[in-house]
């Protein structure tokens, strides 16, 4: 069925945005965890989403077949964002190093907030796209019906 394909496209978008929110929540949850003295601790993560469709142009038929194989949606990878660790002077802390500094992961709360906000809006946009596809299908069922 045709409309289930457009549902599936919107679902892949929703998957990616939900992953973004989950990763941002994970970063925030681990924002104040201490790294051990040898520097092993939480690394802030970020989501890299990539579209399977490159820059190539497609005609309608090949696009439909790509969608049918489930290849049109984005795929996403979670990887460390590589932000530098944050050092806080706290000499009494059990995990403090020789100079009295404790290291925390370099999580930026403002960035995470922005990520979640943008992801939530994009999720909404995917829901709207899905609802419009559904509305069109419902309208198609009205063809020939008693107006």
């Amino acid at each position: 069925m045709n409309y289930s394909q457009s549902f599936a496209i919107s679902a892949t978008g929703m998957d990616v945005e939900r992953l973004r929110v989950e990763v941002a929540a994970l970063n925030l949850a681990n924002a104040n965890t201490v790294a051990s003295a040898d520097g092993k601790g939480f690394q802030p993560l970020r989501v890299i989403a990539q579209s399977a469709l490159g820059g190539q142009s497609l005609d309608g038929g090949s696009f439909a077949s790509l969608v049918g194989q489930g290849l049109a949606g984005p795929s996403s990878v979670v990887e460390p964002s590589g932000r530098p660790m944050r050092s806080v002077l706290d000499p009494g802390h059990p995990h403090a190093d020789a100079q009295g500094y404790v290291t925390y992961p370099g999580v930026d709360p403002a960035t995470e907030m922005m990520t979640m906000l943008v992801a939530s809006r994009a999720y909404e946009a995917n829901v709207v796209a899905m609802n419009i596809a559904r509305g069109m299908a419902v309208k198609a069922l009205d063809i020939g019906g008693a107006a």
Binding site: M1, Y3, S4, F7, A8, S10, A11, M14, D15, R18, V127, M130, R134, A137, V138, L141, G144, G145
Partner: protein, 105 residues
């Protein structure tokens, strides 16, 4: 799902018109390769399968075994749409049947 429904509408005219709605329960007695009753039965079975699947999804939702809320909602929508498609097909059939019954000979 829409495609298999469309051609048999032309073939309706040949058998007695009241048969198609009663046939799904009686089984396939028609000698035709795909009788209209079979088509209706197949469509109904598909709709019923989808409804069952969404019921299983809802059960998972109630017991907390859901990893993906939007997938559940999408499947619910899909089963609702196929149910509506079935309903519309039934409405059209019933309409034409009643039209025939009202025909003056």
């Amino acid at each position: 799902m829409t495609a298999p429904f469309i051609p048999p509408i032309g073939a309706i005219q040949e058998p007695a018109f009241a048969v198609p709605l009663a046939q799904p329960l009686a089984g396939s007695t028609a000698p035709a390769p795909t009788s209209f009753g079979d088509l209706v039965t197949g469509g109904l079975q598909k709709v019923s399968e989808q409804l069952n699947a969404s019921q299983a999804d809802l059960q998972g939702l109630a017991t907390g075994n859901v990893e993906n809320l939007h997938q559940v909602m999408l499947r619910l929508e899909e089963s609702r749409m196929s149910f509506q498609l079935m309903l519309q097909v039934r409405n059209r059939l019933l309409e034409s049947y009643q039209e025939l019954m009202r025909m003056q000979l």
